[in-house]
């Protein structure tokens, strides 16, 4: 069953994020995804994630289809203007890519091509409006399309710190939903109790919420996140658990698996980010009982 169908029917969807190669060697990409077929509902493919030039999500999406996996590609406005975005999306649809996730791109100043000129022709709402227009059979200039695409689109919501921020994000989310967004992806969960309260407050949005789980690959990484992104609410307990473990890799996988099992009870989908350890995804799925 496709990702869109699962979400619409209210069934639990499992997604995994895979980084695309910086180069033309796709052996790791195909190897890492080989064992995911029939275990996940879609592969999320970032587009120049964190401002790092990689193979684009369009090309990698097409490769996933060849692998028998359904792609969900990132779309952002930093690198392409409305002409390129629309053209690439039409290409994507023809290749069989229908699932889109709108994200806010990292600043060019923080990218690995700092001297590039950022495009930013359309912001996130502009992007959703653009896809809504394509879905209605017209391009952004109002010209009729020959053959109408049918994209299924969602957006990402940043980590929530408090009710004030949540309120603002809810307002933005409502606007995006009014424009046609059909699901929302939230940021990595480390504090389940707090996240449950956020999730309850997202109920009025009336769209499926997909939660994210990060694989904490090392104590250093966990520490970095807890210091630099306090909104992620990564507690000292988790860091200590990882630090004291005799087999930290297995422990990291177990932490992710536990979180997924618990999230499965309260949300409508899960996105697993293995952050370079994509070869461990099947083990994470085993640990989560998926």
């Amino acid at each position: 069953m496709g990702f869109q169908k699962k979400l619409t029917k209210g069934e639990f969807a499992v997604l995994a994020e895979i980084n695309t190669p910086k180069g033309v060697d796709i052996s790791e990409l195909t190897m890492n995804t080989r064992f995911l077929k029939s275990r996940i509902d879609a592969v999320i493919l970032p587009d120049m994630d964190n401002g790092i030039m990689h193979m684009s999500s369009l090309g990698s999406g097409a490769i996933m289809l060849q692998q028998g996996l359904e792609p969900l590609i990132h779309v952002c406005g930093r690198d392409r203007n409305r002409m390129a975005l629309q053209g690439d999306l039409l290409s994507a649809h023809i290749l069989g890519i229908q699932n889109l996730l709108f994200v806010q791109a990292e600043e060019m100043a923080n990218s690995d091509h700092q001297d590039a000129t950022p495009v930013n022709d359309l912001d996130e709402k502009g992007l959703i409006h653009m896809v809504k227009s394509l879905n209605s059979g017209k391009d952004l200039s109002g010209f009729e399309l020959s053959g109408t695409p049918d994209f299924f689109m969602g957006f990402a919501m940043p980590s929530i710190l408090d009710d004030t921020q949540l309120e603002k994000e809810m307002e933005k989310a409502k606007e995006k939903i009014d424009l046609g967004a059909r699901f929302v992806l939230t940021q990595p969960v480390f504090d389940l109790d707090f996240y449950s309260t956020v999730l309850n407050k997202l109920t009025p949005l009336n769209i499926p919420v997909i939660s994210s789980v990060f694989l904490l690959k090392s104590v250093g990484m966990a520490r970095y996140m807890s210091i630099n992104d306090p909104n992620c609410r990564l507690s000292e307990d988790i860091i200590t658990r990882l630090r004291k473990s005799k087999d930290r890799e297995a422990e990291a996988i177990e932490i992710a698996g536990e979180m997924i099992r618990q999230l499965k009870e309260i949300c409508q989908g899960i996105k697993i980010s293995a952050l370079g350890w994509e070869d461990r995804l099947p083990t994470i799925l085993d640990s989560a009982g998926l």
Partner: protein, 222 residues
Amino acid sequence: MITAEQKPVTEIINYISPYRRILLVGCNECVTVCAAGGKKEVGILASVLHLHFLKQGKNLEIDEITLERQCDPEYVEELAPHIDRADAILSMACGCGVQTIASRYKEKIVFPAVNTKFMGASESQGIWAERCQGCGDCMLGITGGICPVARCSKHLLNGPCGGTSNGQCEIGPETDCAWRLIWERLKELGMEDRYEEIMEAKDWRPSGGAGPRKIIREDLSL
């Protein structure tokens, strides 16, 4: 200089119609030179607005002031005695002036009365043309004093595109091909060899690619 054009009067009217007492502020610098927002234009706009609202039975009170420079906090301070009397401020300066006023008088709403257009020069009486995009890394020394960033429609850095025709840009006969101008200028100067130099991908960070720009001169800072 920074060039500007007055906004359509209907747009200005829409901005200020909820208010009765308006502080209309001109600027003696660039917008005076390009006849968009100097003392003269302040007077004309005030009359137009008066007439419009009088026809609607509303007596608009307009304080007219033209500052030496609206982008300079020192001169913007001169508005302080007039601020309390105003319900809203209408600025005829460029976007820099509007924002300087907005940051100084936070309690008052400020509206722009002009559209800021570009950094340009006067070609002849009543005609201004774009000459600089503030790319932050001037290459006029290599291109014979003619800027390909500001004057080539495609910002090409290594000669003209195939769209150049009889020295004109493909976007329209009113636009000269910047690279035709550069080539002719380099020939006049006997510096054709510069044309042969390949310019590598430009670093757009100084152009704003790395976010809003700021100049900090420690030798001048207090």
